[in-house]
């Protein structure tokens, strides 16, 4: 273990693909037009209204073209029409580009799946070439360097470097080997060196790639509950603004009659106002945000089975974290030799090392490493003809026999029995040491031999990963409780939980206990997230609101969870929660921004629309009646003002696409500070930004002579 692997980088950005790639852009460009299909559009009520509005203005424009309306009017009408279409197209573009990244991946994936030829094992050392899509569960295949792995499976033999960039986008190759954590391979990835014998574990057509293709393409993308609720809100606001704008016509007719001057509002201005007022910004970006959220999870090498799962991750109140692998490094390590009275530390170290030479468990290796500090290195073992006794469930100890000398190590009770069997005493002090180590969260391992009796203890310690304490503190700030799940007894568990800074722990955990805990939390109204890999985790994974299954885990676990971590790194649950939160925050911030924008648009369009009304005083210039006083931005003319507002409304969609795709900046902090920060940026920002924005566009329009009536 190197020291490097102990520290943990907070929220690692795994892959930095540029937001805009040429191929994706081109495709998104095409898709923006394809998506104009009203049947597709109908899913998005806000943009549907804009499309209908665009169609109406187009028809009116051509009508006016035919009846030979003055060119100046046509220029204005044409521009409005054009920008309304742009608004729709920009919205489509945002969605298309969000999908594009997934689609591009899906295409590569699909291509690889089609052309793959698998070498299926018929009998030992005999292979036949078949198409990958005819593989069945249970088949064994051989994949050599340079070949594609034909399906999802488990390595049963061999070690190889594998390029998994097709799925994960990570160009650095990973090692896949039989046994242990790195045995799972995914179809569609490439073996770079050496070879692997793989047992296929998933039927063709249901493989990870197949599922991924349908997920990333968004073909089966269903709106998440929160997205639906937000859509209702947006549709409601759209109806309100439809009412507002459609009643303006009668209102202005009244004003024309009552004031005896001016004109009632024209259709183009009304439609322009409508499109500016309805929440087009969030309406256009809403689905892009959702898709990008799934994409972001994917970049962390986690596959979410639905957007709903990511949303739920943002809501999680309780994280259940397995001790091993998540909180601790997974292996206990020897950190100290404590000799028995009358025995020197070197003797103890020597015996401990001898007994562990053949012990390939991480614990055993750490004992050998620790003993090296006592300069015990070279050994002429052959001379003493060692007989290694490995650990068995029956004896519960391991050790070595050197001629007549028997060295044993094991748990306290077994070794004490062994010592007594040899007719030796167990010093009372040892009991104290044993319970001291247990209390501090460690595991005491006793060492004895048949000559000298008890030699002492080895202090095995659970090593808590670095940086976790801070992250748990962040989580606590965000209101998320962390609970450690462990098979250890409560004493040990409490010590580790304290050291790692967790809120609570479940000791001596069994699948049933885990299940009970989830139920209890959920009954209290809390949402629970957990990780798991074993088959006996499956019920709990299914019951949890967010179940992150490890890719190395069993098929049952993978099916029960609603997310799969390709890297099989349980700590990633924390990242997933953060991505979920970021997704919801992006949605909320852009909604607030979108609604706050409307204030400025009123100040642009209302004076323009009503400028000609109630013009009593001779000092007023035409179209600059009393209501023109509301033109606080000092816009040039009625036409330029309306155009500027419509253009601003369209361009802001484009401007916010990167934000929608990347998600807003996120830093763990409590809700109050988060709210204050986002409210300041997106609420106050949304209120203020359009004022200079529209003013600037107005000046550009005037400069280019695009509003000739002025």
């Amino acid at each position: 273990m190197t020291q490097d692997s102990l520290t943990l980088v907070p929220v690692p950005e795994r892959k930095k693909t540029p937001l805009l790639q040429k191929a994706i852009l081109y495709r998104a460009f095409i898709d923006s037009f394809v998506k104009l299909n009203p049947l597709v559009m109908a899913k998005n009520p806000v943009m549907m209204v804009v499309e209908v509005a665009s169609i109406i203005t187009t028809i009116l424009f051509f009508r006016d073209l035919i009846i030979r309306t003055p060119a100046k009017v046509l220029l204005f009408e044409g521009q409005i029409t054009l920008w309304l279409w742009f608004t729709v197209l920009f919205a489509n573009f945002a969605e298309a580009i969000a999908e594009g990244r997934g689609k591009a991946q899906a295409d590569t994936l699909r291509k690889s799946r089609k052309e793959t030829i698998a070498q299926r094992e018929i009998s030992k050392d005999k292979y036949e070439s078949i198409f990958a899509n005819t593989l069945r569960k249970g088949d064994t295949v051989l994949v050599k360097a340079g070949e594609l792995i034909p399906g999802d499976g488990e390595v049963i033999e061999g070690v190889a470097t594998v390029d998994e960039s097709a799925i994960t986008g990570e160009s650095a190759p990973v090692i896949r080997e039989s046994g242990g954590d790195r045995s799972a391979v995914t179809g569609g990835t490439t073996v770079l060196s050496d070879w692997l014998r793989i047992r296929i574990t998933v039927q063709a057509g249901e493989t990870f790639i197949d599922r991924m293709i349908s997920l990333v393409e968004g073909a089966q993308r269903q709106k998440t509950p929160n997205e639906i609720a937000l859509n209702i809100l947006l549709a409601g606001l759209t109806i309100i603004f439809l009412l507002v704008v459609s009643t303006l016509l009668p209102f202005s007719i009244f004003a024309v009659r009552a004031g005896g001057c001016g004109q009632s509002t024209d259709m183009f201005s009304l439609i322009a106002l409508l499109v500016c007022l309805i929440p087009t910004t969030i309406g256009a970006l809403l689905s892009a945000i959702g898709i990008a959220g799934m994409d972001r999870v994917l970049q962390h090498n986690v596959i979410a089975m639905s957007g709903k799962a990511i949303e739920a991750a943002g809501d999680v109140d309780t994280l259940l974290l397995d001790k091993t692998g998540t909180i601790t490094l997974g292996n206990r390590q020897a950190v100290q030799f404590i000799p028995a009275p009358g025995i020197s530390e070197t003797i103890l170290a020597d015996a401990a090392q001898l007994s562990s030479l053949a012990d390939e468990t991480p614990e055993g290796r750490s004992i050998v490493t620790l003993a090296k500090q006592f300069n015990l290195r070279e050994r002429q073992l052959a001379k003493v003809n060692p007989q290694f006794i490995s650990f068995s469930a029956h004896t519960k100890m391991s050790g070595v026999n050197l001629n007549k000398k028997q060295i044993r190590k094991g748990a306290a009770d077994v070794i004490c029995t062994f010592v007594r069997e040899q007719g030796k005493e167990v010093p009372a002090q040892i009991d104290k040491e044993v319970s001291r180590i247990a209390k501090s969260g460690g595991t005491p391992l006793l060492v004895a031999d048949n000559v000298r009796g008890l030699l002492g203890l080895i202090y095995l310690k659970d090593v808590v990963k670095g940086g976790l304490k801070e992250r748990f503190a962040h989580l606590r700030q965000m209101g998320i409780r962390t609970i450690m799940i462990t098979g250890d007894n409560s004493l040990t568990a409490a010590a580790i939980a304290t050291e790692a800074g967790l809120d609570d722990f479940l000791a001596e955990a069994t699948p049933e206990k885990k299940m009970q805990l989830i139920r209890k939390e959920q009954e209290g109204g809390r949402l629970v997230a957990m990780t798991g890999d074993g088959t006996n985790d499956a019920p709990a994974l299914a019951a949890a609101d967010v179940g992150l299954a490890m890719n190395t885990g069993t098929q049952a676990a993978k099916e029960a969870g609603n997310m799969i971590d390709l890297d099989s790194n349980p700590t990633k649950l924390i990242e997933v929660v953060q991505i979920g939160k970021q997704l919801l925050m992006t949605r909320g911030s852009l909604t607030t921004f979108s609604i706050a924008n409307d204030v400025a648009k009123y100040f642009a369009i209302l004076p323009a629309m009503f400028g000609s009304l109630y013009l009593f005083s001779a000092t007023n210039t035409p179209n600059h009646g009393p209501i023109w006083a509301l033109n606080i931005m000092g816009l040039h003319s009625a036409q330029s003002a309306i155009l500027a507002a419509v253009i601003f409304n369209a361009l802001i969609i484009i401007a916010l696409i990167p934000l929608a795709l990347r998600g807003i900046h996120y830093q763990p902090m409590n809700a109050e500070s988060l709210l204050r920060r986002n409210l300041l940026i997106y609420g106050a920002g949304g209120l203020i930004i359009p004022f200079p924005g529209i003013r600037l566009l107005d000046q550009i329009i005037v400069m280019l002579g695009l509003a000739p009536f002025s």
């Binding site: 509950p225 929160n226 609720a229 209702i232 809100l233 549709a235 409601g236 309100i240 009412l243 507002v244 459609s246 009643t247 303006l248 009668p250 209102f251 202005s252 007719i253 009244f254 009552a258 004031g259 007022l277 949303e311 943002g314 809501d315 109140d317 700030q477 965000m478 209101g479 998320i480 109204g525 809390r526 979920g580 939160k581 919801l584 925050m585 949605r587 909320g588 911030s589 607030t592 609604i595 409307d598 204030v599 009123y602 209302l606 009503f610 009304l613 109630y614 009593f616 009393p626 209501i627 509301l630 409590n670 809700a671 109050e672 988060l674 709210l675 204050r676 986002n678 409210l679 609420g683």
Partner: protein
């Protein structure tokens, strides 16, 4: 603005904040079914009512049953009032013989459409009056037909809001309470005792209470004046407390018989706000976090005080065109006079008039002590906007708080996502159905106001037609220009908001206006109450999510700011264009020396 004027507003505010908690505490006791200090007097009566009406007070209702009971009860009440109004000519307590052959010449006839409008108006707690009480209504109509609803409609609102609060307070159940029990308890323990004491107080101040025929007096100029009489005090008490606002006399609380002294004026203003204010505390108490209630009160109070001072400021500035004529309009006089005194009672002065106008429109009351029609344009915008915001700044009895709660739900939904969790309010997750109901509530209000105003401003009808005597709908306005538009807008805003105050200047007693404004009142009452109750039904089933440091905090200053922001932005975005063509342009024109 004068110091004495500002002091009056401040003293009023302090009194209001002081009584909020005790009133709310008592309301909680009553509505939670606990024993109150009046139990020993009224307990028997309460049980007797249940026995006689066959109501089982222990029985809990699903929100649909609750709504069904409420609607049926309201419908029967409306029919009852309609019948009395139509038959008042042959019923007793009609000393002036209204609706008979020997009715006085100044009497207005009780046509079917006027009776319909009035019945709906009082059933919906609006008290929009297209008639003058003193020359249309018999004493029986006033006391039984109308005052009955002053009690009942307020109690219905109180019950509906209690049901919504239960939606937040209870968890994982399906029932929201028992409508009949809520109705009976609120009437017995809240409205009857308070109005009893309140009426006595009003009489002590000089409000009349008799059944005498109208007095004929000879004025100093030697002109014969008819001075109307009647059982005013009892109706006055519930008119203010129940936030009904329908005056016994046309002049409403500007009339010396309704509101004789500055002290009665202060108490009348307080009585409009005590129940809605108490409701906020009751909400906090029932959801077991009083901070939540105080936050809502804070939002209401800030909006109220802002409105009051804006209104007061523009009234003090008065009309520049009058100043040009060398008329002294400075307000530096002790009596808080000067500024714009048109349409005001000199007894009350500018501050108390502006304060009363703001309170009565905030509270969906509609009682007036000055003419809103005569306010300067921007001062007049405040009452109009108060109503358009949905009558949620304190608002009606119950309807104010449930409106405010719906805005709280919307606020949490729009902005709550910004903390990275799906939104929750007082421990309840806000989901699809809740948003749907909240949007329906908001939609109903703006639909009714905007569509009817649009009709009123352009609808062409034949001249002298039976449906609208002046002809086209826009001919009913008595002022030209934007002021006329404001009159129509105010009429439908006031009807929809169930406020009932009139901007005046609009001839409302025609079949067209009687029927359309009645529909607006029905929409504003029931199409907003039903979504609120449906929301209660949805919320009550949800589990309570305990708050954590990751939860959107809904009790601090940040939430209050946000709530105010959402109310103003949603309200402003909806009605700003209409207001531009009404009071705002009128304001600009006034400064261009053009008056309407």
């Amino acid at each position: 603005m004068t110091l004495i004027g500002c002091l009056q507003i401040i003293i009023y505010s302090l009194l209001l904040l002081v009584i909020t908690k005790p009133v709310g505490f008592y309301m909680t006791q009553v509505m939670e079914g606990e024993k109150t200090f009046l139990e020993f007097v009224l307990g028997h009566l309460e049980r007797m009512v249940y026995r006689m009406s066959g109501v089982n007070p222990q029985e809990e209702m699903h929100w649909t049953t609750y709504t069904y009971s409420l609607l049926t009860f309201s419908l029967i009440g409306a029919l009852f009032t309609y019948t009395i109004l139509r038959l008042q000519g042959i019923l007793p307590f009609n000393p002036m013989s209204f609706s008979t052959a020997v009715a006085p010449v100044y009497a207005t006839s009780m046509t079917p459409d006027l009776a319909f409008n009035t019945a709906v108006s009082f059933t919906t707690n609006t008290n929009w009056q297209n008639y003058s009480g003193e020359n249309t209504m018999s004493y029986l109509s006033q006391m039984l037909g109308l005052a009955y609803h002053n009690w009942i409609s307020a109690a219905v609102g109180l019950a509906a809001c209690t049901a919504l609060i239960r939606g937040f307070a209870r968890q994982s159940v399906t029932t929201v309470g028992n409508f009949w029990k809520d109705l009976v308890r609120s009437l017995l323990y809240i409205f009857f005792p308070i109005t009893f004491v309140y009426s006595l107080f009003l009489v002590s101040q000089g409000v009349i209470q008799n059944f005498a025929p109208y007095t004929v007096a000879l004025t100093v100029e030697g002109i014969k004046q008819i001075i109307p009489q009647g059982p005013v005090a009892t109706q006055e008490a519930i008119k203010m407390l129940g936030i009904n606002g329908g005056g016994f006399f046309n002049a409403n609380s500007a009339h010396p018989f309704e509101n004789p002294t500055p002290f009665s004026n202060l108490i009348q203003m307080l009585s409009m706000f005590i129940l809605p204010a108490g409701f906020t505390y009751m909400f906090g108490k029932m959801v077991k976090d009083t901070r939540q209630g105080w936050a809502l009160l804070a939002a209401m109070f800030i909006l109220f005080i802002l409105g009051t001072f804006i209104c007061y400021y523009f009234e003090c500035r008065g009309n520049p065109n009058i100043r040009v004529q060398h008329v002294e309009t400075s307000t530096n006089v002790l009596g808080d006079l000067g500024g714009n005194m048109e349409g005001k009672e000199i007894r009350f002065g500018l501050a108390d008039s502006a304060l009363f106008a703001t309170i009565t429109t905030d509270a969906s009351c509609g009682a007036v002590n000055c003419m809103h029609d005569s306010l300067t344009p921007l001062a007049g915008l405040i009452p109009l906007l108060n109503i358009q915001l949905g009558e949620i700044i304190f608002g009606g009895v119950g309807s104010g708080l449930y409106g405010m709660l719906i805005f709280a739900v919307l606020t949490v939904f729009i902005a709550g996502l910004m903390v990275g969790r799906t939104p929750e309010y007082v421990g309840k997750k806000i989901e699809q159905k809740d948003v749907k109901m909240a949007m329906l509530f908001v939609l109903a209000g703006c639909f009714s106001i905007l569509i009817f105003t649009a009709l009123g401003s352009v609808l062409e009808l034949p001249n002298k037609s039976s449906i609208n005597v002046p002809g086209a709908a826009y001919n009913n306005v008595n002022n030209t220009g934007p002021h006329g538009f404001t009159e129509i807008l105010y009429c439908y805003a006031s009807s929809t908001g169930n406020n009932g105050s009139a901007f005046a200047g609009l001839t409302g007693n025609t079949p067209f206006y009687n029927i359309t404004s009645a529909i607006a009142m029905l929409v504003g009452r029931f199409f907003m109450m039903i979504p609120a109750l449906a929301l209660a039904g949805s919320l009550v089933q949800k589990k309570y999510v305990p708050p954590s440091s990751g939860t959107f905090p809904t009790h601090g200053g940040l939430f209050v700011t946000l709530l105010i922001g959402v109310i103003l932005i949603v309200g402003a975005l909806t009605f700003f264009p209409a207001l531009t063509l009404g009071p705002i342009v009128e304001h600009f024109l006034m400064h261009n020396s053009k008056l309407f």
